[in-house]
Amino acid sequence: MDATVSSSQIPSVFTRPSVSPVDPVWDDAFSRVESYLRAHRVESRELLNRLAADIIREARLAAHDAATPADPVALAMRVTHERIGAWFAHAWNKGTWAHERDRAQGRLALVMADLPGRWSNHFLSTEAIPSELVTGMAGFSLQAGPELRFSNMPPAPLEFGPDETDPHRQDKSRWVLARAALSWVMIVGLVSAATAASLWSLR
């Protein structure tokens, strides 16, 4: 029996969408795009799947049209960034998505507008973006500290030994010395008296 099946024998339900066997490199690209979107806290399976499939379709077209072969993962991520950039242009109407630092700035705007917590299902949506999200992104600022107002803080001087510039030094030092001497005389006297009394008893 012939094991091969001709295309005419396949039921029409399987032929309508053009499905080709899975290419592992595009599978890897799909998985990467999906993971990247999920890293933006998009948790809806339906949305993730739709977005990733759409991006991969566009990337495959781009690969087909490209003069030189490009790596599918890199290509798919480039398309992803373009898609995010376009969404940003639509939502934020500000900045550019061309450079790494700009993209980082854009992602920061998403955090500050609480996209991960509240608006993840609107990420890359082509429909109207909630005004609260747009306002949050437009008005964001990451303030790690107040405005700098520098103070001069010179090290406190430390000096050792007697203060030669103090006019009262002589008087003060005499008084301090006298008090110290008197205290020591009292202490030594007490100890001596006790010692002498004990020694006297040993005679």
């Binding site: 890199a74 920061l108 500290g145 050792f160 008893s201």
Partner: protein, 717 residues
Amino acid sequence: MKVQTFDPAALDPREASRRRTRSMGLVAILAVPAILTMADLHVRTGFDGWKFVHLLLFTILFGLVALGSAQTLIGFFVRRRGVDPCRIEASLDPAENERVLHARTAVVMPICNEDVPRVIEGLRVMYESLERTGKLTHSDFFLLSDSTDPNRWIQEEAMWLALTQELGAHGRIFYRKRRVGINKKAGNLADFCRRWAKHYRYMVVLDADSVMTGESIVSLVRLMERNQQVGIIQGVPQLVNGETVLARLQQFASRLYGPVSAVGLNYWQLGEANYWGHNAIIRLAPFVQHCSLPELPGDGPFGGRILSHDYVEAALMRRAGWQVWLATGLSGNYEEGPPNVVDLAGRDRRWLQGNLQHTRLIFARGFHAVNRLHFILGILSYLASPLWLAFLVVSTAIAYRLRTGAGSGPVLSPWTEYAHWSYQSQALWLFAITMGMLFLPKIVSLVDLIGKPEEVASFGGWRKLLAGVAIETVLFTLLAPVLMLFHTTFIVLTLCRQKVTWGAQRRGRAGQSVPMETIYAHGSHTLVGLGAAVLVYRIDPLFAAWMSPILAGLILSIPVSFFTGSLQIGLALRAKGLLQTPEEAQPAVELARLEERLAIREKGLRPLPELAGNYGLLQAVIDPYINAVHVSLLRTKEDLPSPSEETFAALRQTLLRNGPDALTAKERMALLMDAHSMAVLHDELWASPTDRLAEWWRLSLQHYTRLAPAPQTAFSL
């Protein structure tokens, strides 16, 4: 009705002199009879060089014990008479309590590689508490990081931003990370002062484990506003949140004995109090002008940068004419203690070197005599350990000499003849006096509770309170010789110029004793204890019996240390209501909220063990949001010279192709500090085909993968 308030500015200097004379007089009254009795004992058996050294050491050590006892006695009598009129809290007119304060205040928390969830949750409860008061509208919070551990650093950034978002506190809670942590905590605070001190009138300084209620912060600001000549007010923090046996012992002891002693301390300190480095408020203008720490002349353990900054800052503030007060009655002021003996010793190691360095400052010009006394007492608090060890060694030598017939047999002195004292009974009396002096603060603090049934009930009632005192006394008696050996070793190491590392305190489950660490830390103590036991027993079995508490502490140091660091036993004691404190019985709203928040954090997922070592780097590179926050917080540099960029590019490639372990810690840190590299790494990693990434990154990416692993069946093979 106008309430009579205390005005610290009008405090008569003669009152301070009178109080100090009384305090020192009481120390003399307590110490001199014991010292004379010891001298007499030595004279009766023939005075010699050994006994002279012995007497000298006894005088210093007994003097210190007497100082503590005198302070507690004074505190007791002051409390019995009501309240001390000369206390900073008495300067406030209660009628003004409802007034909203407009003084701009910065609440600053310097941190270095601390447990980030604990730090963030501590900030949260303080912020919420302050917000609830509604009275301090012009206050900002600062998290001042010197963390060098990339994991902690990235976690700090992410959790700080999440906190500000949750609390809606953008522009009210700030985060600053220093690239180079020059001069440790003092340098960290000085950096804050240089950048932002002009915005604020006051700075409330916290430790990483501090919790201060909003009311407490407001009270401190109010006190500063009322007393314009005061530069620093130090609160007396209560130890809380202890879970291990040692942490609970410390908080029980400090809660029971601390309040009486603190009143006694304030009695003689008055406007020349000390600053303990945290849970205090500082007037910023004079602090910036007068309290920047100078370098000490010379290098080595006594020169160079000042390590223990707080005492010196208090002395400099006082030198500039500003008063420093201790607020003994301020409630809602908390901190945490070390969870086990090894951590306690580690903390002491850091403090010890700083305090020893103050030796030079005792003789610096211009400091107030009381500040010099603070320096001396700070030094002696650690120097007492080698002095005690020397005392024990000399005692052993004297016992040996007496045993071998050196010196004369005991004779009667007129005094002992009059008192009908035999040599043995005189020695026993001296021992009893010494023990009495050691236990006096405990006894006085217990007596202070008589007639205060509510306070007694908050400790669990008399039965549990006394049981707690017994447990605390036995365990601290056994631990005292261990700490003596630790401190002595640390002093020797410091003098040998061995550097001190500043690690973060472990908390919770992480704070439990680790068996191998305990054995390693106390193995030498056990050997010293065994050797000393054999030696003193051979000299005189009776002398060995006298020394038995010390010898037992050393010989049993490993099990005792392990036991006191046990979380399970600590929690079991808590369940039985033993070592209970009022804060534990009825925690403040802030402490309860902190516990609740930390329990939620505890439930969070932990990274895979393979990834945990570089989890901060992982998040900073992979996560789109954490990467964005991290890049935004890094200082933007001008375009790097081409060789530097090439070096960074090579490091980035190595990191992606070979994983983080292919780079040194310094190289990983260099990448984390370079904003351009971090932004590029994020894009490059996500755009790299899987087969070109290191296995470590492939595993990391699985965090974000939607698919569960394929089912493991016979067909999977």
